[in-house]
Every structure is written in structure tokens, then in C-alpha cells.
Amino acid sequence: MKLPGFLRGMPQVAWQEFLVNLKSVRLIIMGLLSALLIVGGAYGFTTLFSSGGGFGGLPPVVAWGHQAYASNGSHVAVVWVSDPYGAPVAGRSVEFTNRSPTGGEVALGTIPTDANGFARLDVGNSDYVSATVRAGTFTVGTGVVFYPPFVNFTTASLQGDFKRHGRSDGLALHVMDLRGNPAAANVSVNGTLTGSVNGYGYLLVDLPVEQSNVTVEVAGEAETFPTYVPGDSNGAPFTSGPDFVLVVIASLSFLVISIFAIVLSFDAVSKERVQGTMDLLLSRPTSRTGILLGKFLGAFGAVALPVTLVNLAGVGVITAVSGKGPTGSFAAAFVGVSLLLIAFYVLMQLIFSTFAKTSGTAVLFGVLVWLLFNILYTIVVAVVAGAVFYYDAAGYFRFTQVAGLGNPTSICSMLVSLAAPASLQGISGTSLEPAIPGAAAVVWFVGLLALALWTFHRKAGE
């Protein structure tokens, strides 16, 4: 099939550009970087955000606080420091501070945890003591309130996603007697005995979904308290679940994709000029439109192929780790709009690359374009909005709503968020009607393509 004259040379240039890029070191590096960030990010964020309770990661260390009494009736604050799974942490300093209104906020002393993770301090007649312990960069605290005990033991608990499977259905218990020693306690869930605490007074039990009653029994005395494990339908969708992870991944992915597109296409035209091969291309039976479109399609394809694979892998990882995939239309929009973003950046680079006389200038243009649309634009919008609408709050608001239409990256974010489930749109969405970002995308694409063609026709040979 013979192409019309104005497209002559397009398939050959496209295929050559695609192949050369596909074999390039820069594509391999950017592909690996994208995979690391997007697939790795998908795994990490799914693990982090998939618990039903939202940002429910377990703390690295736990300070379990208990009230106890000395033989002379003096109050003893007892703190056991362990990791969430019950391994004691020895040699950590526990700072005790009086919080009782009668005594005021007074430091009571610092006691290191013993080999079994315990720190005990006689606090006299103080009714309320706080204890803090620092582990690495993390500081945890607990309060010890002295109230007349109903039973001969005290219980501290921590509920969370101990199995890291997206549901807070683990309950860690720590039980001490009133002398400040680990109690011999049996634990039942909904009347069924599930186990006994260990020598440190620790036990981790599984809880069923919805409401349960947990009973701790020590030496014939028992205390029962209710627990609640949210089911799937009761999670907070805007801070958890695969769709939310995809929102985070999409933001990350758009940053990487724009860099990927720039790295592969910043010198698409200028390198031909520097190598002298542009003259040879132009002197063949080719049209300038055909060469430019071929350059665009080749570079676009070379970026789109690995990016789409990485994006699909990211969605796959989210699905595999969380047990269910993101909403289909949302995932499809993410993959599709990524292609649009690639097209935008490749076209911008073709324009600047046509202007650039040297590779150094081409690199500079690439960096500037990325900075402009990923960092500077937001600052410029804020400055302009602040300057123009200083006394007009409503005008300021409306301006910032439409300002994103001047930034291709923002348009792509809007388009993805429009496809997101309703519960998520508040996070990264837009108040604009769906047709407006859609039309803006078409205008940007057509405008960039026309500008790229016009520039290439005028400057390609110079």
C-alpha cells in the first residue's frame, strides 16, 4: 500500500525510532526505574493501605501500661515494652511523668527496661502517670491510671492487622496482676477458650469479623470487653483499598512517565541534526510531515510499551496483594490516560528538540519542561491567583479550579480521577464537568501536534 505523499517516510522513520529506542540503554534504565517505583510502590502501598482501619500499620514497639500496688499500698506504674508480636525489648529508658492534676506535670524518673522488657516505678500516691519510651526514631507512650480495681488483674490490648492481610482482626493482650507481675490468664472469645498468656503476660488472639466479646480470666475472676472488626463494606474507602492505592500509584506513575517520555524523546530531532542524518532523511522521498509523525509514533511506542506493561503489572500486584483488584474502569482509565500523558510529553520534546541545535540544549529543554509542568506550574498558579484574586476569595477558588487545564499533567490527573469510584473523587478530583478536561486534552493534543509539525517544517533542515 502506498501512503499519500504527505505521509511518505512515516512508517520507516517510526519503526527505526522505535527499534533504536527499544535497544537503548536509557530505555532499559527508565524501564527498570518505572518498574521499581510503580510495581514496587503498588506492593508497598497495598500492604500499607489495605488494612480495614485505614493507615493501620502496627507500631514498631508497644508500651503496655498497668497499675500495680506495693505491699505498703504505694502506687507502682508498670510498663512492659515489646514489639507488637510480644518479643520483649530490653535496655530502653522509660520516662515516667506525673500527670495527676494534684501534683502537676513533674518528671518522676527514668527506668531502663529489664531483660524481660519491664520497667517499674513507685509513684507514691499519684493517680495518673504517663510513660514514654524511645525506640530508634519512634517514641511510644502509654498512660497508667490508678483507679480502684474491679478484679485482681489489669489488661492492656492492641487491635490491628497482625496477619497483614487487610483486616484488623488481631488482638494482642497483656495481662498483669496487681503486684505488677505477669498474670496466669486464660482468654476466651465469644465464650470459647482460645489460649493462655505466656510468661510475659502476652497473648495474640484472632477475632471474627463484626462484634465479639473477649473474656480474660485470672484465678477465678473474669473481665469481658467488646471488640469490633470491620467487614469489607465498612472500611473507609478513601483511605484504603485497591482503588485508593491506585490513586497513589497514578500520581507516582505520572511523575515517572513524564520523565520517561522526556528521557527517550528529548533529542529525537536534535540528535539526527548533530549526527548529520537529518539531511539524509530529508533528501529521501519523504515528507516532513511523514518524518515528524514517524518520530512521534516511534518514540511514543517505545515509551508506551514498557510503561503499559509496568502499569498493568502494578494493577496486577495491587490485585494479588489485596485480594481484589481496583475498579475496572478506573484501572483502564489509568492505563489509557498514561498513554495520553506520554503523547503530550513526547510531542513537547519533539517541538523543543527541533529548536535545539545541540544535545546540551535539548537536555536543558527537557529538564525545563518537566520542572515547568510538575513543580513550577503549581507555584506560578498560586502566585498568579494570589496576585490577581487577593481580595476575591471566590475568584481565587474558581481560578485554581480551571488553572489545571493549562497543564497537561493536571489534565491527565483530572481524567483519571473522573473515572475513579465516587468515594475517591474527593481526593484528587475536580469540580469541572467531565467534558471540560476531555476537551482540554483534545485541544492540547491537537495544538501540540500542529505546533510540532509547524516547527519541524520550518526548522528541520536549519
Binding site: 520507516q12 535497544k23 548533530v274 548529520g276 542524518t277 537529518m278 539531511d279 522521498p285 519523504t286
Partner: protein
Amino acid sequence: MAPQPFLWTDALPAAVIEVEGLTKVYGGSRGVKALDNVTFQVPPKSVFGFLGPNGAGKTTTIRILGTVLEPTAGTIRIDGRDLRKESLKVKERLGLMPDEVLYYPTLTGLQHLVYYASFYGIRRSEARKRGRDLLEQVGLADALDKKVKAYSHGMRKRLSLAQCLLNDPDVMIMDEPASGLDPQGMRYYRDHIRWLAQQGKTIFLSSHMLYEVEQLCERVGIIDRGKIVAVDTIANLSARLSAGAPVVLHVTATGITEAALQAVAAIHGVTGVQPTPMGVDVTTQPGSDASAEVSRALVFAGAQLRALTTDQRSLEDLFLTLTKGGDA
């Protein structure tokens, strides 16, 4: 406008390249005028030399003829077709050999030729065969599967010639084909261009090497500061340059006596006689040919005549005179 003695103004019959009023301004209407109303014609099946100092507009002309650059004004017809209106058809029969091409460093010589052949609709298998033949023809048979980044300057020049011949063009535009080559390389190019002309190609050759142009071209064009200052055959240009200048006869002889010098000085048309270590230099009026009388007078006066030559105006003289001493 005063007549310009070095411009051939009559249209050549059946010229293959016809350039008329070619003007190129870089950087918009207020920019730099690189070519100013350039007009010349190139006859078929010949090698046309295109000369000029650095920055005179040679490469701009070459790039416009090669359809790389768009002219600001003027018309170009190649083989009767307008370059702007029928550029695709012109390019089918055109070969361009730019001055300096680095090529795609990760492709081999053969891969380059297969790629460029694809633009002419040549099938891949045929392109590979033609590519191998051409690389063999230009002496790169051993390097056809080597990546071009390993090629030397001379090898890249040979690859340039091979790619220029891919479509068996009727018209070849060559910019400094032998620049930077060693004497063997230059000799190779000279022979090859001569052979191509014998095969019926029309070759537009830009070169700094005046000796090379003198050897290869019958017709030349000289450009200076964007304007054509001479277009004609080297012989005609040389003759026209010599017109109006005194003729100097260099005589190599022994036994030249004072009487012999006086006899020569008495010849009609002789304006000066100057003894030299080899014999004598005799200056005559412009347009006169006194060589026969001079040799006869010297022999009659008893001198032993060995040789008698007249000054030839070389292409270099021509170039330096017409370009006000500019570097080629």
C-alpha cells in the same frame, strides 16, 4: 545593470539543474541573507564544480538542492521538475552526499543502507543485496557488519558515497566528498566521480580542492558572499580573465647575447625583455602572440633554445581574483 563578464547568460540546452533567482534568508525577513539571487545551470552528464570561500553560501546551496532546506525565493528545476512542487518525484532520482555525517552509531554500515533503501520502496532482501554490492564497490566489504561508531573518517565518507548511490540517482549532489581524506582516498574519489560521470550521472560537486575540481570539472560556478560571481567552463573563464592582461613568454635558452636581446626587443608588440637565470622573460602587448618571432630572433642570434612557455591562468588565479583573495 552593468554586464557581468564571468556569467554565462545564455540558457544551456537541456540543462539538468536549473537554478534561478535562488535566495535564502536565515532568521526571518531581517535575518542574514545567505544566498542572493543565485542563478546557474548544470548541463547533463557532467561534473559541475561549485567553488567559494568559507561562508560564501556553498553548503546552503547544496542543502537547498538536496531538499534539506527550503529556499526563501527562487526556483529550482531538476530534470525539468520544479523542486518545490514535485519534490517527492525529484528526490526519487536524486542522491545527496553531505559533507560530514556521523550516522547512527549503533547501526552497521549495511543496516544504514537497508534503512535508507526502505524509503525508495526497495524490498528488504533486495536492499540487503544492493547494500552489500555498494559497500563492496566503495571498499567497505569487510566492514559492512561493523557498527558505524567503529568507522574511521574515511570509511564514513565511503559509506556516504554508498548511500548516495542506493537509488541509482541521475543527479548527485556532493559536498566536499574528499575532504579530510589521505592522498589514496582523494585519488579514489576522483577516479570514482570520473567513472560516475562516464556512467551518465550529472554531478554537482562542491569542493575546497581546486586541483580536484580542475581535474574533474569542465564547468564551474563560483560563489562569493551569497552571490554567483562566475559560471562557465574553466577554459572560457581563464581566457576571459587573461583578456586585457600582458602576455609573458618564459624562454629557457643558453648563449643569449646582448645582440639577441636587442633583436627580441625590436619585435613588434614586445614591451619588455628581462634576462633570467634560465634565459629570458619577454612581455608582449595584450592579445598579441609573438612567440614565433621571439624564437626565430633568438635562434638567428645564436642562442640555443630549449623551451618557450606562456603564463596559464590557473583555476586558483581565477578563484582568488573573483573572490578577492578569499579562502576556498
